[in-house]
């Protein structure tokens, strides 16, 4: 055999191996853990017959390394102030989680922890060590306990079925494949048709590998949705709330492509369809406990402090429309609360020249893309300035500031008025250049809340406002 033909055979063999390795990992995993087929509206038989946990799973070196990393991550979330340190909330989430975890289930290297993450973006995720995080943004958005259970059940399935480990193993294989492809492509010694074929394979193959990574992730999400429904029913939560929760997430308040539980999920519409179809064939009789779990008022009473916390986070993160939407819900639930009315006022004030709701035109895909590009470039202050230069922006600003003022004043007239309403009025008047009124409101705030964390900031503002106008040195933001 001459050197040319032997080299040809080596390269051909490598290409064959690559083709096999591209296809095999996902297939192998489908066989090993039998995730349900992703066909819409079909009830995967496996979802019913499988154990809730992946009992055959055995830890390998790479799995233990991943476990070590997530344990570090867990500690970091706490240390960096990302976890909501509220005993009541954590106990509440733990109670729901404990109901969902099948009785007597013991999993190696899993310690169940259910915690709220201080993040206004509606989201949730599970770490393979059993830590399940649900953001305050999602807790504030849902309507009842059953919807929280739906989120937790989905995430619990990821842990019980060891999805993170399986995905990690799969990704490692696929990365290795991609690197081999790159090596073959770089050293392709052949010319002519064979060389061109190898070039095409090595160019296209990485895209196929990436597609299988996302495809596999979607399969796991599909399984988590359906197994989650089963967990809910077993714990006497009405499983149809899973569909309602998905529909809730479909409400695009900020005009952004809201990430759902995670990045690589099937489209929301598809998820709604296949979970609905699955439920259709698996009707669960409603019990009194189920009715209780979907009681909205009980959930709002429990989650009110989390919702307030989240509204403030939403304002800080320039998610002003979400803040208006969530505080409006809170005021409707508890209209006599000075703090709730104050939060609604804050939301309108910070909304500035923006409209409280996006129009259908704003919600088209191209409009969302444009808005995302602008968001990446402009600071919220610059966005505000640009909007104020338009008649629509000016109109919105006027309306929103009027609403904010009315609401601040209302908050101060209610029983046990919330002191920060004075601060809000101060900021509002400062923008309207009513300097004396602003300073007076700030002073009133400091009098009522002398130990406020923003005391220093407000004192400096008062100093700047009381100073003669031509002596102002530092800008006020």
């Amino acid at each position: 055999m001459n050197p040319s033909s032997s080299r040809y055979l080596v390269v051909a063999f490598l290409c064959f191996c690559l083709t096999i390795s591209i296809c095999s990992p996902s297939f192998a995993q489908v066989t090993a853990q039998q995730p349900p087929s992703s066909g819409q509206g079909t009830q995967p038989a496996s979802a019913k017959t499988q154990s809730p946990a992946n009992e055959d799973f055995e830890f390998g070196k790479s799995d233990l390394e991943l476990l070590e990393q997530v344990n570090i991550l867990d500690r970091r979330f706490e240390r960096e102030g990302l976890v909501l340190e509220d005993e009541t909330t954590n106990a509440y989430l733990k109670r729901i989680g404990d109901l969902l975890v099948p009785r007597g289930l013991k999993l190696e290297n899993v310690v169940w922890k259910f915690r709220a993450l201080r993040d206004p973006v509606p989201n949730a995720f599970a770490l393979p060590n059993g830590s399940i995080y649900i953001t305050t943004g999602l807790l504030a958005l849902v309507d009842n306990e059953s919807e929280v259970a739906a989120v937790l059940a989905h995430e619990l399935t990821h842990v019980m079925r060891r999805h993170s480990y399986l995905e990690n193993r799969s990704n490692r294989k696929k990365f290795l494949t991609m690197n081999i492809i790159a090596a073959v492509g770089a050293f392709n010694p052949l010319g002519g048709a064979a060389g061109a074929a190898i070039l095409i394979i090595t160019t296209v193959a990485p895209f196929l590998v990436i597609a299988t990574i996302f495809g596999y992730s979607r399969e796991l999400e599909h399984e988590a949705d359906l197994k989650g429904v089963e967990l809910m029913a077993n714990a006497e939560y009405p499983p149809e709330e899973m569909v309602k929760m998905l529909k809730l997430l479909n409400n695009d308040i900020e005009g952004e492509q809201i990430r759902l539980f995670y990045n690589d999920h099937p489209a929301l519409q598809d998820r709604i369809k296949y979970v609905s179809a699955y439920l259709g064939g698996n009707a669960v009789p409603t019990t009194a406990a189920m009715e209780l779990n979907r009681e909205r008022a009980a959930y709002f009473a429990r989650a009110e402090p989390i919702m307030r916390h989240d509204i403030q986070l939403a304002i800080n993160a320039a998610r002003f429309r979400s803040a208006v939407y969530l505080s409006q819900r809170l005021v409707e639930f508890h209209p006599d609360s000075s703090e709730n009315v104050f939060l609604l006022a804050e939301s309108y004030r910070t909304l500035g020249p923006r409209s409280p709701q996006l129009t259908d035109k704003d919600l088209t895909n191209s409009a969302k893309k444009d808005a995302a590009k602008k968001r990446a470039k402009r600071t919220p202050e610059e966005e505000e300035r640009d909007l104020l230069a338009t008649p629509g922006g000016q109109e919105n600003w006027k309306t929103n500031q009027q609403k904010a003022e009315e609401l601040y004043l209302r908050a101060l007239q209610l029983d046990t008025p919330f002191p920060a309403a004075h601060r809000g009025l101060g900021m509002l008047y400062e923008k309207l250049e009513r300097r004396t009124d602003a300073a007076n409101e700030y002073e009133e705030y400091l009098e009522l809340a002398p130990t406020a964390i923003d005391g220093e900031r407000i004192k400096r503002r008062i100093e700047a406002l009381r100073r003669p106008q031509n002596a102002i040195q530092s800008p006020i933001h």
Partner: protein, 235 residues
């Protein structure tokens, strides 16, 4: 002949290219630095004497043939080391690093939240700064007077934010990078100095240096930080 022609010629070209890259890596310091100062600093309207360093966030990964793997513990160690290096570089300019009075403690959730919120506010602003770094010179970026909520020492003139990312290569990946190409081991750092009273971004600097970021004996990170703060006036 045909075999030789088709195989040796590209191989020769690759070898030349590899030698060139290796030589370039050996000769050049292989580090890039950019510094952008607010007009207030240039005109000396604002002088930075005392600073407060917020906890650095440096993330590194180990890149292997099987993809990137997290290095949580090493990232934490490196974050602390980088923060110390920045403090040393500033001390060389006679700028004092004050302790964070609001250092998060286990019992004080509110203070922990405040630090986390300010850090995330900076993280929101950072992509906008990196998109148009030159605008720091125009005084375009500000975090607002919310920075006062940190209640740092009254002597503090500025708050320092450090972010970074990098990667270390396994031996297999090193060989792969050498033969096929790809991203070598590196450490990229950004430092933002923000006015402790007004929240204005007074200085933004970024640096990238090649080499294993976890190597404690390496002086690259120190040199990179020192160079990236070169334009900041000493007191």
């Amino acid at each position: 002949m045909l075999f030789n022609h088709r195989f040796t010629k590209p191989a020769h070209a690759r070898l030349t290219c590899a030698v060139f890259v290796v030589a370039l890596a050996a000769i050049a310091p292989y580090a890039a630095h950019a510094q952008y100062l607010h007009p207030k600093i240039i005109s000396k309207q604002t002088t930075i004497r005392n600073i407060v360093l917020l906890p650095a966030k440096v993330e590194i990964v180990r890149d292997s043939m099987k993809g990137p793997e997290g290095m949580g513990a090493e990232s934490e160690q490196l974050s602390a080391r980088v923060a110390q290096l920045v403090a040393d570089a500033l001390a060389a300019k006679h700028i004092t690093s004050l302790t964070v009075p609001s250092a998060p403690t286990d019992g004080d959730s509110q203070q922990k939240y405040t630090v986390a919120d300010i850090q995330s506010r900076y993280d929101d602003l950072l992509p906008k700064i990196t998109k148009k770094k030159k605008d720091v010179k125009k005084g375009r970026f500000s975090m607002g007077d919310e920075v006062l909520n940190l209640n740092v020492d009254k002597k503090a003139d500025a708050i320092v934010f450090i972010r970074g990312r990098g990667q270390k290569l396994t031996s297999g990946k090193k060989a792969f990078v050498l033969l096929v190409g790809g991203m070598p081991a590196y450490l990229q750092l950004t430092i933002g100095i923000v006015d402790a009273h007004t929240g204005e971004v007074l200085l933004y600097t970024d640096s990238i240096s090649a080499g294993d970021p976890t190597d404690p004996s390496s002086n690259r990170a120190r040199k990179g930080i020192t160079k990236s703060l070169k334009k900041l006036p000493a007191i």
